[in-house]
């Protein structure tokens, strides 16, 4: 994002999330890999976006500096930010990982064991090419009952030294973050609903709240302990050098939350409060929940739990930044909510969507502009450029 005198992207997003003065409204997006590949096919210049680092060849096997392609950076190209530009290096996955491998292939599908232990099916397009980018179907999950949970829990040991990088050293990392990081630093954690749904599958996890509440209580309690203890060293090192926490949940659908306010209150609320309390104790107050769908029926509880921000606010699910701002005021900073369907149309539809929300959000503050989810594959390069140009012209605070 083009810097305005005196304000770095990091300062800008911190101020926006704190409802403080900004020179311009920050703009953040995330791209599906499939979208980027499509945009390349439409003329997106790869050579301007490739991220190449010179490293020692073979991770230090040879004393030779050699270029390595790390990926693509569409954010600097389009002039937006990535919410996950710089992340605190804590591994909160199962350790050891399940080895991802193909277990079956037929004319229509490939089936894999994933690193989380779930089994997934990927569809072949036209019987040949495997679509790697679209969400696969997860058809079998590693946790089914108390016994399989106890087996899985062994992989969720927060004390495992592999949770931090081999070169982890507090002062060294603080120095690197301070010296080389202009954008926001994000600490990613997984929420109490998200982790359970990922390990059991949505139907089984949801049913377990009724069928096996003891299992749920044990899973949730362990996740609280695991989360706090896994991130403890990083949080106590970085403190408010962490600009915000990205708390992934995905706990709602179009109709409403996947679990009722009653279940949220009974099973999740106290655990959220303890994790948020731990973060607050370390001066980390910007805590953003990532959940698709219509979260409104549980938002009062989410705020009570200690969440202070929300993304992506899907319009298709009835979410609206203006309504949320009126209801929650400065209790929630808001990110996203520009209707991807309208924006992808371009022209008047795109402009109308931006103009209907951005002026109000500029006036009330506490807003990071962006689509109401990842940039999806239906965007053409032309329409995304049109959107980027129009939005950037409107972000400056007069």
């Amino acid at each position: 994002m083009k810097e305005i005198e005196g304000m770095t992207p990091r300062e800008r997003i911190r101020n926006a999330m704190d409802f403080k003065e900004v020179d311009l409204v920050p703009w953040a997006e995330s791209f599906y890999v499939e979208t980027l590949i499509k945009l390349f096919s439409e003329g997106l210049p790869a050579h301007k976006m490739a991220v190449i680092e010179w490293e020692m060849l073979g991770n230090g096997n040879f004393l030779v500096n050699w270029p390595k392609l790390l990926g693509f950076d569409p954010y600097s190209y389009f002039g937006c930010m990535s919410l996950a530009d710089c992340t605190v290096p804590v591994d909160i996955g199962p350790i050891p990982r399940f080895k991802q491998r193909k277990i079956l292939e037929n004319a229509k599908y490939q089936e894999y064991i994933m690193e989380t232990g779930a089994r997934s099916r990927r569809i072949k397009k036209g019987g040949k090419e495997v679509s790697w980018y679209s969400m696969p179907l997860f058809y079998e999950f590693p946790v089914k009952d108390k016994k399989s949970w106890e087996q899985y829990k062994v992989r969720l040991n927060p004390e495992d030294p592999r949770r931090y990088p081999k070169d982890w050293e507090k002062d060294g990392y603080l120095h690197i973050f301070d010296e080389y990081q202009d954008g926001p630093t994000m600490l990613g954690i997984t929420g109490f609903y998200g982790f359970g749904a990922e390990l059991m599958g949505i139907p089984n996890f949801n049913l377990a709240f009724y069928r096996d509440p003891e299992l749920i209580e044990d899973m949730i309690s362990h996740w609280e302990y695991f989360t706090i203890e896994s991130i403890r060293e990083a949080v106590e090192t970085f403190k408010d050098r962490v600009d915000y926490v990205f708390w992934w949940e995905d706990m709602a659908e179009k109709h409403g939350p996947n679990i009722s306010p009653k279940l949220y209150k009974t099973f999740l609320l106290s655990h959220y409060k303890r994790v948020a309390g731990f973060l607050n104790k370390n001066k980390i107050y910007r805590i953003m929940m990532d959940s698709d769908g219509n979260t409104q029926p549980i938002l009062d509880l989410v705020v009570e739990a200690g969440i202070t921000g929300h993304w992506p606010l899907e319009v298709n699910s009835g979410m609206d930044v203006r309504t949320l701002r009126k209801r929650y005021g400065k209790k929630l900073f808001l990110v996203g909510n520009l209707d991807k369907r309208e924006i992808a149309k371009g022209g008047e539809a795109m402009q109308k969507e931006i103009d209907s929300k951005l002026p109000f959000m500029k006036e009330t503050g506490g807003y990071v502009a962006g689509l109401d989810h990842l940039v999806h594959v239906e965007f053409t390069l032309e329409k995304f450029r049109e959107y980027a140009d129009y939005l950037k012209g409107k972000l400056v605070i007069q």
Partner: protein, 222 residues
């Protein structure tokens, strides 16, 4: 006369308990106990189904639509219904109950997501519909061929991915070409579809959730 009134009252009472236990999602064991009591009292199986279980399941759906219940409650209600149906299965087989209607159902080609489809299926079965579930990643020709073979009341098409919604139009166009579009209602469901999209491609209805989808099916087969 008094005895008859008291018998009717006892029967209504047990059916109410069944409906109440399911509607309030009290617990599965109570539901099983009341169904067993009803069977012992020789309550007709149709009464247990209609005035007990389906009434209870309707209440679950009503509360979901009203925003009192959520996905977790919907799934629990549907699973309680499934358990109850297993208890009744031997009697149901003997009686050969007439179905409310037939639904052919599937996730469209290129899409392999099925949570929403499966919840709809559970509710539709609970409501008395016969379901022919073609699964996921279903080719348009398979939808059309099954529609010709089974002559269903409703063809349910599901899609999670926006990239696969054009498949829905292909199915509708193929039904038209096969000359059976007028004979079957086409119901769309899934996160990717909207009412506007449904209108654009000529669907009969778009279900924003499983309960609404079953309501459409009931209305069409009344």
């Amino acid at each position: 006369m008094r005895t008859e009134i008291s018998e009717v009252s006892a029967l209504e009472d047990i059916l109410d308990k069944i409906a109440h236990t399911l509607g309030n999602l009290e617990n599965s064991s109570s539901l099983k106990k009341f169904i067993s009591q009803a069977l012992k009292k020789k309550v007709p199986i149709l009464e247990i189904l209609e005035k007990g279980l389906r009434k209870g399941l309707d209440e679950v759906g009503r509360r979901y639509e009203a925003g009192e219940y959520f996905l977790s409650e919907l799934l629990f209600g549907a699973s309680m219904m499934e358990e109850a149906m297993k208890i009744l299965a031997p009697q149901l087989r003997a009686q050969k109950l007439e179905r409310k209607g037939q639904i052919v159902l599937g996730t469209v080609r290129g899409d392999i997501h099925d949570i929403g489809k499966n919840i709809f299926k559970m509710f539709a079965e609970g409501a008395g519909f016969e379901i022919h579930d073609l699964g996921v990643d279903v080719n348009p020709e398979d939808f059309v061929r099954t529609a010709i073979e089974k002559n269903p009341d409703v063809l349910g098409l599901s899609a999670l991915l926006t990239t696969t919604t054009p498949e829905m139009k292909i199915v509708i166009d193929d039904l038209q070409k096969a000359g059976i579009r007028g004979k079957v209602k086409v119901l769309l469901g899934g996160n990717a579809v909207t009412n506007q999209f449904g209108e654009e491609i000529g669907a009969d209805a778009v279900a924003l959730d499983a309960v609404q989808g079953v309501d459409f099916c009931k209305e069409w087969t009344r």
